[in-house]
Subunit: 187 residues, 2 copies
């Protein structure tokens, strides 16, 4: 019997061991630049949803996890709905994201704060090398869906991003997704 | 720019850095049980084709590769067309296969020779744990296509399978794919 099932056209996972986590706007305090606007919006709004299949314990070397993420369309003021973003706890571990539907941006940052993006469209495959923080924003009108594969030893370091942020924020500037450098940081 | 492109419905990869390798029947000497029949067939027959995207050097810890394999339909006597099969050179490293089209079997073997299978159908996702040899057979009438993700430190150990084989062979027994134990080995 296969481990799990994947709906090829939607990216959705099902089967024993698939876990699901959701992030509502209420759980994303201080993630967006305009915190006052975030706090004034509907706190029940679902921003993103992650499915993960983790057949071995986190931290084990040589194992792999498989995931599916959905980011809903919307903005907090000019800034697109996006994930919190993270480095891997074991810093030098890679990850793949591949886009199934929708339109988005993979925002990447190295350890010096240099920040850039890769456009996500259906079929785009993104190799995220080790030591690179990653965050995904939905820049379209429909949901953005992608699958992922990453090492079980990678772990997540959300703290560095919570404290220091990315070197730039992705904003809708007159209809165009634009990376805008944050003060004291470079793009 | 994304690393590469994936055709979601066909599994095909394209873009800079995607390499392709083919195995013809002439290159699979002694892989099938009935070597005399294999040697008498069209040696130019394509048995399988592999695409791989390997953005970091093989052996590097923490990196990941992405692949696409196609196994063509057919048999050598009763035995389905299949891959050579391998353990990973760094034995305790995992891999994912996920089936995009066709019908097949993922044949798995532990270090004691115990051999079993998982059916592959579109959308089936297979976690291959570390220390498990793996081979894929096409049991259908059309091509079998799957994608794969594996660690850059995994490498390939084909020699153990060349020498010892799997504990069983997958044969068409009166129209049903059936694992048949090889002598002195267990299923």
């Amino acid at each position: 019997m296969p481990s799990i099932q994947l709906e090829i056209n939607t990216g959705k996972l099902s089967g024993e061991g698939v876990i699901t986590a959701q992030k509502k706007l209420s759980q994303l305090e201080n993630v967006f630049e305009d915190e006052a606007t975030r706090a004034s919006m509907d706190q029940e709004q679902l921003i993103y949803e992650v499915q993960a299949f983790m057949p071995v314990e986190e931290g084990k070397e040589g194992g792999l996890y498989f995931g599916n993420s959905t980011i809903f369309p919307g903005k907090v003021n000019e800034e697109y709905f996006m994930t919190r973003g993270h480095f891997h706890a074991k810093l030098d571990t890679a990850e793949y994201y591949w886009c199934i539907q929708g339109k988005g941006a993979l925002i990447l940052m190295d350890e010096n704060g240099k920040t850039w993006l890769e456009e996500m469209t259906p079929g785009s495959v993104h190799y995220i090398p080790g030591k690179i923080a990653h965050r995904v924003a939905n820049t379209g009108e429909e949901k953005l869906v992608f699958n992922a594969c990453w090492p079980s030893e990678a772990g997540h370091d959300y703290g560095t991003i919570e404290k220091e942020g990315f070197g730039a924020r992705l904003k809708d500037i007159e209809g165009t997704p634009t990376l805008v450098a944050t003060k004291n940081e470079m793009v």
